[in-house]
Symmetry: C2
């Protein structure tokens, strides 16, 4: 398959044009979001939705998170990523396969339905995780486009995927909230440096390849600015697979956690990684397509 988005193969970084749509469909009155929201996602590369979930549902998700974080021994050990300089849990991957409640959340039509609509295709879960940034010593996530890594290391052919972050704690201005560069998703920023073997073993803690050039980041920030959507627990932040994003560390006492889901269009299923290395393990990048069906929706509340 032709590599439409080559990266990590030239000696200098480049800014290229995106070759794919952002909103892949056409708005209609049955859409799960308003025309304005669809336009905002298309133009800015992100969208914030509040009040999708009831207070009860959010509480149950918080309980579930607490349970999962407090007993890591019940989880597949390789899915647990700790802080670079400690043992504190930073992310738990493939969380929808390890928690029935999260499995129902990822398939919930309020989330999956929006993904299906924006990508104008059936969708499946490319990646899921629970992110936890502890208070006092939460570390930063440096700027990156997810798509660059998914393309080079996982073999995602086109830009037809998006991420949803369901906040499980409030995003305040000071606890290291997700920052995005609105509009950056329309450029493709290539990176330099060949990817080492088994890069994922370190990159999930601290990425050193697939890191955008500082001059390009500075120019993107000047052109597009930086936003950090704030919100209460339950707020959903949706962003395109190619939106430049990152987050600062967190010395406040308030931890930050979210359930993080990547929906990919089934027509955009993974092929061989474009970087020419072995694909990353399936707990980071699902290689089998299991389409999320609206008619299989189960209520989140019920302990079935």
């Amino acid at each position: 398959m032709q590599d439409l988005y080559p990266s990590r193969c030239a000696p200098t970084a480049e800014v290229r044009q995106r070759l794919d749509p952002v909103f892949h469909g056409v708005w209609n009155k049955d859409a799960p979001i308003s025309l304005e929201q669809a336009r905002q996602f298309d133009e800015q590369g992100y969208l914030v939705i509040e009040d999708l979930f009831s207070g009860d549902e959010i509480e149950q998700l918080q309980d579930e998170t607490h349970k999962l974080l407090s007993d890591p021994s019940a989880l597949d050990p390789y899915t647990i990523i700790t802080e670079p300089d400690g043992n504190e849990v930073r992310s738990i991957f493939r969380i929808h396969a390890q928690s029935r409640r999260i499995a129902r959340l990822v398939a919930d039509e309020r989330l999956a339905g929006i993904a299906r609509f924006l990508l104008a295709d059936d969708v499946y879960v490319h990646q899921s995780r629970l992110n936890y940034k502890p208070g006092f010593r939460g570390k930063e996530f440096y700027w990156h486009s997810d798509f660059e890594t998914w393309h080079v290391e996982d073999g995602m052919p086109r830009m037809r995927a998006l991420s949803m972050s369901v906040l499980l704690t409030p995003n305040t201005p000071n606890n290291g909230p997700l920052m995005l560069m609105p509009g950056s998703h329309r450029k493709y920023v290539t990176c330099v440096g060949e990817t080492p073997d088994n890069h994922y073993l370190t990159s999930l803690k601290k990425q050193e390849y697939g890191v955008p050039d500082e001059d390009i980041l500075a120019s993107l920030a000047r052109e597009h600015g930086i936003v950090a959507p704030l919100g209460e627990a339950g707020t959903v932040v949706i962003f395109d697979c190619n939106t430049m994003h990152g987050s600062n560390g967190n010395i406040t006492p308030l931890p930050r956690s979210n359930a993080f889901f990547v929906y990919n269009a089934v027509s955009n299923r993974l092929v061989e990684p474009f970087g020419g290395k072995e694909p990353r393990p399936t707990f980071i990048a699902t290689r089998e397509v299991e389409t999320l069906r609206a008619d299989e929706n189960l209520p989140m509340e019920a302990e079935i």
Copy 2:
């Protein structure tokens, strides 16, 4: 001299009452700040003042900063503090003794006059520095009360000192601005752990002693909240010597720099350090009182 604020000598951290006033004087109509501003400082432990300086003055200070940062070889090498894991300059101490422009700024009646008024005494410069938090990889400053360190390591007897940060770049919500806990200055949070010899050699990069307890910080944050004053270059943030403060790291492309001055009341001059160790070097804590006189004010603009 009796130690009114013992710290780093008990096995557990404590929250004690402050024994000194915050605003040491009485407001009158000739005061350099309004009654409201004096009250805000007294109650909240900080105050933000905009438009103290002209655009020209701010530009000249920025030029001066750029000059000082770009040629560290012209400075006393021991006054230059680099980032914990690199060579990038984080702070330059005793900056008022190394730059005529900064010497005029620290003595400027618009700053020193406010310090004299709030402390109700003549003042001198206990410490001065230029802080620089680079873009992309600026590191955090963890929570601390300055007074705790100045008392234990420098021998500052009472709480009758304050800091002024003159912003030389904008403080945005995302570039790691100073965070304060308003009202925390009325408590004295003791720390545990004996101070090692020559602690300053590492503490200016990353502090490991004189670090407040996490449970106490969490409880202060719940009670007082956290504010991060934003503002353009030229904004002055004044805060009491005992206000709990810190700042997050900064992955945005925007660097952050400020000129940072500590004014101490001459009646509060340093004695032997209460921690019983050798005093820190004078470039960190002036031991000779040179009173700043209003009648010696020179215009900042003139290159005299």
